[in-house]
């Protein structure tokens, strides 16, 4: 088919020129300002699939495509007690109380072992499916939680960007404007979802993810509700306040507060019907813990089983800022992580979806080599991260960081985190051009 022959309703030209709200109200759905929700949702998603087939770029949908799960370890995970250089003298001497001995680890090779709180990841390493990247960080590291998290989420070490790396992925590489292309399970939108056009949606409980109304004439009321909860047709020049760019908080850059609220309201409707349907249909037989992380991964698994078109899911596991009495709390957090991942991947395997999902962990920084006076560790710099999934080539990637050649007592990075992002974007999400997303290309790693 010649590049000029276009789908009559969803030409690239149409997508490029129209704003999202205009697209959703296009002649496909009739010119009326009002439509019932389920019909609208079905049509939109169907159109997106149709139109996507004719496009040169990859299909947006995660319905049959690959899926990325981003798992944030919030607080600064202590990489040295996660991927343990148990045989290193400096490690043992620097942490008289906290260092893991050979008996406290799952041996991976003669130098490194995994914290024994993670038996599932240990077995995943041996069976194939777990990649561990060492020494991940960025130039001129920052030790503030907020600044460093921002840097990882925006993929901008100068911390000036107002969009996130995933938001830029949605905008540049996911044609169509399905708001559920990215779903996060935190109470607030992660900075990595900040976008110019499509910042994804945020969800904690599918059953409550709708407008509850039980009075008379429900359908009518819902119609009024739908009408009041979408952006105005009229042009908004001069009507919106010139707000400082809000892109970083998961909103769209340059939006005034009212526009922002209206867009979120529309996104909520569009996504809620679909999500509700899927959440009620699919239940799992695998057992998950009660931790928030496990429950959220459970939801992710259900949505994947149900065929959600989501490409990127974002979940968080918190509490890693272990300045004080680290030993028990850190091991417990890693244990919770391990258990949640075990349930998640077992679930995916049962569904037959294990080869479609890759999961990446990240943390804003590692921790210092030396333990502090309170049997904890303070903010550090480079650390390790995990990449797990049916298509991951098991192994340890990057260079083992030196514990003698430190930077102000901290591990120096040998892998720029954007290399990890680049590898996932190009090799897993099949992005043809990462430059609009990461600014430039970065040397890729071999884990996928």
């Amino acid at each position: 088919m010649s590049p000029d022959a276009q789908h009559p309703l969803l030409s690239t030209h149409l997508i490029a020129m129209k704003t999202r709200r205009e697209f959703l109200r296009s002649t496909v759905l009739g010119a009326s300002a009002c439509w019932t929700l389920p019909m609208f949702v079905e049509r939109t998603f169907a159109q997106l699939h149709e139109g996507a087939k004719d496009m040169a770029t990859q299909p947006v949908t995660g319905k049959d495509g690959t899926i990325l799960v981003v798992l944030q370890l919030a607080g600064g995970n202590d990489g040295l007690n996660t991927l343990v250089p148990y045989a290193d003298d400096i490690y043992q001497r620097s942490r008289p109380r906290l260092a893991k001995k050979e008996k406290d680890i799952i041996k991976l090779n003669d130098h490194l072992g995994l914290n024994a709180a993670m038996p599932y990841l240990g077995s995943l390493f041996n069976e194939g499916g777990l990649g561990i990247v060492q020494g991940v960080g960025y130039p001129n590291p920052n030790r503030s939680h907020f600044v460093s998290t921002s840097i990882w989420e925006t993929a901008d070490p100068s911390n000036r960007s107002t969009t996130g790396w995933l938001g830029r992925y949605f905008d540049n590489a996911c044609p169509g404007a399905d708001p559920t292309v990215g779903i996060s399970f935190n109470k607030s939108q992660p900075e990595s979802f900040g976008a110019k056009k499509n910042p994804g949606v945020c969800l904690t409980s599918p059953e409550l993810y709708k407008w509850l109304y039980s009075g008379g004439e429900k359908a009518e009321a819902e119609e009024f509700f739908a009408n009041l909860n979408q952006p105005d047709d009229a042009p908004t020049d001069g009507a919106s306040i010139d707000m400082p760019a809000g892109g970083k908080t998961g909103s769209v850059v340059g939006e005034g507060n009212l526009e922002f609220l209206e867009r979120v309201a529309l996104d909520a409707q569009v996504s809620s019907a679909k999500i509700l349907e899927l959440a009620s249909k699919h239940r799992t037989s695998v057992r998950y813990d009660g931790t928030p992380l496990a429950r959220n991964l459970n939801l992710v698994a259900r949505m994947i089983a149900g065929g959600m078109p989501t490409r990127v899911y974002y979940v968080s596991h918190g509490g890693f800022d272990t300045h004080n009495q680290q030993a028990n709390s850190h091991d417990r957090l890693l244990g919770q992580l391990d258990s949640a991942l075990k349930s998640f991947f077992t679930d995916l395997k049962e569904q037959g979806n294990d080869k479609r999902v890759t999961l990446m962990t990240f943390s804003e920084f590692g921790r210092r080599v030396e333990e502090n006076a309170s049997a904890g560790t303070d903010h550090g710099k480079a650390s390790c991260l995990f990449v797990a999934g049916g298509n991951v080539k098991a192994g340890i990637y990057g260079k083992q960081p030196s514990l003698s050649d430190l930077s102000e007592g901290d591990i120096q990075h040998t892998v720029d985190f954007r290399s990890v992002y680049d590898t996932l974007l190009e090799n897993w999400l099949n992005v043809p051009d990462v430059k609009p997303i990461l600014g430039s290309q970065f040397p890729k790693l071999g884990f996928i």
Binding site: R143, S144, H145, F146, V147, P179, K187, S188, Q189, V201, C202, L203, T204, S205, E207, L208, Y209, K210, W211, L212, Y213, S214, G215, G216, E217, E220, A221, F224, F225, N227, L228, N229, D232, I241, D242, P244, G246, T249, G250, S251, G256, N257, L258, F260, L261, E262, V264, A265, D267, A268, S271, S272, G290, R295, H323, N324, N372, A373, S374, D378
Partner: protein
């Protein structure tokens, strides 16, 4: 100096002041404020008549009682440790665990009581700006009960913020070094001579006074040595400076060298030009939320600095300025969850919220009093809103107005569990009678749906909503009106009006 607005003002402007400098109000409260004239209205907010002790703290939080409880607990712990010394290790662990769990249970219940106490105060106070400033300081010098654990300490900190809310920012920063809750939260007591902890000085400079870019890592490193030896004496609940643990060697901070201690470093910070600008920007962002020119910042900061960082004159100047009442400012700020909940209750004239409603609301919307997510406090503005929290706001309004009968679905008990707190309510009360619609919308008003809608628009939005929204409301009201407009229909109309993007703005 910011240009002054006239003393004559509209009801809409009075509503705007009450909403930004407080938590909103019902029509009669707004009218009462309006009747004072702008100048007296602002004065009544900045110098409230209500005494500080108008809302007595829970008995266990009173200083004498709390200290006595702490001492008793220490005794009990010593006894327990002596008892288990002779036991085999597994049994000893079990006994220790039981002891700690008993304490945790008490603390969790106290935590719930503390949150309820403060929320109730915010709702019922006649000094709303003081409560808003208390919330401002709580967010600024963020401290969470999740780590501090002892609720009495959070209430003491809350009282500190309240009593110093309109005073000197510099003095408050000095006081916070000696606040027990803050000392525990930022591990200040672990900072000792030879092993300084950088956590506190970093947060003081980065988050409390200067912001990134106005200090160096070296400043933090040196300042950490000055902040050594500050410890909490658990037998009397007071923070003191243990000189034996203090590093008295010379340090160089901001180019000045000397054997500084903590308070002296704080003084050095306030000798810089930046803290005044930093706080002016933050106050403006919190109350006005529109962009601010740098030269206006400099102007306000200069006066703020020379007044020794007094908050009252700064607030006074902002609330009397014509900039504050500009059309671009009015109804442009996204309500934070506490604002949303309190305003909703006031506008529906509900004096006593249903059991559990304030806490469920805070948890679902992402802002729970005494539990900021981290030491940077909460993220404000657009960060409050995503598809999830927006739907929750609508559903909470539905429950409160009785526009939705699905009370039991409102609370997903599992997800309301927050670590460190007693589990939230399993369900909101089913038998909640709802607002007094006879009072809010008397029967005669309901004869004419247009008049009814306009009255409700005045109550909830204090002014215009977009034309298409008003038309939608009127169409809905007309569709609802059968022979009579019962309370049920009024509830549904209110629910619909509140389930809109416009209602999220203040």
């Amino acid at each position: 100096m910011l240009a002054r607005a006239d003393d004559a003002w509209t009801v809409g402007e009075a509503a705007h002041l009450l909403k930004r400098a407080g938590f909103g109000g019902c029509p009669s409260e707004i009218e009462a404020l309006h009747a004072l004239g702008r100048k007296k209205a602002v004065a009544s907010l900045v110098s409230p008549a209500e005494p500080l002790d108008a809302f007595p703290v829970p008995a266990w939080a009173v200083e004498a009682q709390a200290v006595s409880d702490m001492q008793e607990r220490m005794e009990q712990r010593k006894k327990m440790q002596a008892e288990i010394a002779s036991l085999p290790p597994e049994q000893a662990e079990v006994k220790k665990k039981e002891f700690n769990q008993a304490i945790q249970r008490v603390e969790r219940m106290q935590g719930l009581e503390a949150q309820g106490w403060w929320f109730r105060r915010i709702l019922k106070t006649s000094a709303p700006l003081r409560e808003k400033m208390t919330l401002f300081w709580h967010d600024h010098f963020a401290t969470s009960i999740q780590k501090v654990k002892a609720p009495a300490l959070l209430i003491w900190q809350n009282e500190l913020f309240r009593s110093k809310s309109f005073g000197s920012f510099r003095e408050l920063t000095q006081s916070i070094l000696f606040d027990p809750a803050m000392v525990l939260y930022l591990d200040v007591q672990n900072s000792k001579k030879g092993q300084p902890n950088e956590n506190f000085p970093r947060e003081v400079m980065e988050l409390f006074t200067l912001g990134e870019g106005h200090y160096t890592e070296q400043d933090i490193h040196e300042a950490a040595k000055a902040f050594t030896g500050y410890q909490l004496n658990r037998s009397n609940g007071k923070v003191f400076h243990n000189r034996r643990q203090w590093d008295d060697a010379p340090k160089t901070v901001f180019g000045k060298t000397g054997p500084f201690d903590g308070p002296q470093v704080i003084d050095l910070i306030f000798q810089q030009a930046e803290p005044a600008r930093f706080m002016v920007r933050k106050v403006w962002d919190f109350f006005v939320s529109t962009p601010l020119d740098e030269h206006v910042v400099e102007d306000l900061a200069a006066r703020f600095r020379s007044s020794d960082y007094q908050m009252a004159p700064l607030l006074n100047e902002i609330f009397l300025s014509s900039d504050f009442y500009a059309p671009a400012v009015i109804r442009s700020q996204i309500k934070c969850p506490v604002q949303y909940l309190v305003e909703l209750l006031k506008e529906l004239e509900i004096a006593d919220p249903p059991n559990g409603f304030p806490l469920v609301g805070q948890q679902q919307l992402g802002q729970t009093l005494f539990m900021p997510p981290n030491v940077a406090g909460w993220d404000w503005g657009k960060a409050w809103i995503n598809t999830n929290t927006l739907l929750s706001r609508y559903n909470l309004a539905g429950y409160l107005t009785k526009g939705s009968a699905d009370a039991e679905k409102m609370v997903d008990g599992e997800r309301n569990r927050t670590p460190g707190m007693a589990p939230g309510p399993k369900s909101l009360p089913q038998k909640w009678p709802g607002p007094d619609y006879e009072k809010i919308t008397p029967r005669p008003l309901r004869e004419n749906p247009t008049a009814l809608v306009d009255a409700l628009i005045q109550r909830f939005f204090q002014g215009a909503v977009p034309m298409k929204a008003r038309e939608s409301f009127i169409d809905f009201a007309n569709a609802k009106k059968g022979i009579i407009f019962t309370n049920r229909e009024v509830a549904e109309l209110c629910h619909l009006m509140l389930s809109t993007p416009y209602y999220q703005l203040t």
